[in-house]
Symmetry: C2
Subunit: 353 residues, 2 copies
Amino acid sequence: MTTETPSSTSAPGEAESGGPRVVPTLEMVAALAGVSRATVSRVVNSSPKVTQQVVDAVNEAIEKLNYVPNRAARSLASRRTQVIALVVPETTAKVFSDPFFATVVQGIALYLSDTDYTLNMLISSETKSEKTRRYLMGGNVDGAIVVSHHSGDHSYAHLGQSLPMVFGGRPLAAEGESYFVDVDNAAGAAGATAHLIESGRRHLATIAGPQDMPPGLDRLSGWRRALSMHGLDQSLVEVGDFTPESGAAAMRRLLDRGVPIDGVFAANDQMAAGAYSAIYERGLSIPGDIAVAGFDDNFYGSTATPPLTTVHQPSHELGAKMAEVLVALIEGKSVEHVTTMPTQLLIRASTAV
Amino acid sequence: MTTETPSSTSAPGEAESGGPRVVPTLEMVAALAGVSRATVSRVVNSSPKVTQQVVDAVNEAIEKLNYVPNRAARSLASRRTQVIALVVPETTAKVFSDPFFATVVQGIALYLSDTDYTLNMLISSETKSEKTRRYLMGGNVDGAIVVSHHSGDHSYAHLGQSLPMVFGGRPLAAEGESYFVDVDNAAGAAGATAHLIESGRRHLATIAGPQDMPPGLDRLSGWRRALSMHGLDQSLVEVGDFTPESGAAAMRRLLDRGVPIDGVFAANDQMAAGAYSAIYERGLSIPGDIAVAGFDDNFYGSTATPPLTTVHQPSHELGAKMAEVLVALIEGKSVEHVTTMPTQLLIRASTAV
DNA sequence: TTGAAAGCGCTAACAG
DNA sequence: CTGTTAGCGCTTTCAA
């Protein structure tokens, strides 16, 4: 990057028209208000010990000049960046097409927009993870949020010892001291399963998610919990990988067992959609022959025929909560390591009696 | 050289364990390498005029100390922030569930991860637009990217005169000097329509998008262009609002006209999906009786039965291009105001012969 | 309650 | 090619 500046010193951002952009400084405000820079700084940071009179004068000057504090200067002086990093592992970014993730991010951004923090989005690919790590530890951010979709991958966990961090989704291994916000997968799954039972189904199967991912594990255990509470058989389990195809395959395997099945809980909507096709292939009906419930509440479920009963995740709130926890952490408040958000059962036609 | 740190001053981010986080400074690198701070700065900024020997020594010191430049200090001194704002109008954020948008953002982030720029995401609601504006103009960012989904809303356009800005999607009114990156809607639509014609269809209709949105307008004109090139009738036009329901309604109106129709181009996949249901309602088949083509390439089209022929948008590349244009603009290079990205026709079963 | 002064860590002329 | 010298705009003791 050649940093030579032509003699005319055209300020960056001056663009092609308009006069030189003049950004008012705290000093100018001080001059206009007839006080010292220190006082202006106090007003800007709402220090309690400033005369109301002075406060008003300063605010008026600020208004008049359209003054906005310069973040860089502020950071440098206060040794606080007011920046929060949003780390998105590239593998997650690929699944970006999952509306769930997008909504979580939106929740984070919206929460932060009411604070003085700014969101810095980093896509961290394999090749750049070291760069990301350095950036995080280089004093460029006050904290970080790591959204790793379903994987439970907390490879940045150890950084949590030196930088406030919050993870989305519970880690696979009990990472001891890391903070995370998660949805109550087990309770959600148990609720959906209970609903199946309450609607009269007695021969329940499940299409579980990968057993090396926390949501896969937890949703399966939720299913088991509901069944054991009712003393029902728990042997009808097949595992998929969260794709529709795997759901269809799992459903076929279940049907091939030749035992009666009148209800299925799939660990996500995609697999439930896959199950639909397998069920229809065999000439069976939904919910007539088999009731189906899913998890996630996305497009696959809502557009299916019949619409899928599923477990809705409060993705927006999840994001907001992650931001909230992180900010609390940064500000030195003590926070629970684990925050669990409740899910909501969406009853639709696929489980009608 | 007073680099002493008061014993009690606990650095922020010290978290609950681990020693005080010591972030190495350029000065420490200079000392270790036995050169001046200026030289270290030159090396860090890869200035060409430094002896290789010195460069190596400095880099070694950097490595040893795990030094990362402090962005705030750098910004303050260089009067460049190296930050790019991503402005997401909240209305767009609500449509966040559209994978298109998520992918565009990903493209932006990925492009920037290879540069020294950082992405700052701002959700700008009605109530906060003034805050956003101030933030942008307060010297906190070097430039901004505004992603306004389909609306063509360039309400931030006037800021472009003082801050480098790039918009996604062409503006509704010819905003004179604003920069934008868009997909070639007209060409894409013309291509899909041409494909319909080439596959033997002669009685073509279209379900156009809202005529107050650029994509709605451009896709309709693309359809017209293809028809006029073949001297076909252009009267079978109905307008929808990009929702499946509006697509179904529009299709019903078309069928109600009582004239022969053997092909339909819908301005997006959602409306095409709606058209499917209207067509099926009348007992007609796809593509047997009517061939259907859409635009966007999303879930609605790929999961439809039969899979929908549609126009794929290079969303990832679009994002990357937006970032590229903005960076060029910031660095004073001259760039075209309009950048149009090509689309790609995805031929699937809905237009089979 | 307010002001003066001393930096935060880095870049950018300007000498040498 | 390298070092010296000033700041960038703001916060923060420390006095007054």
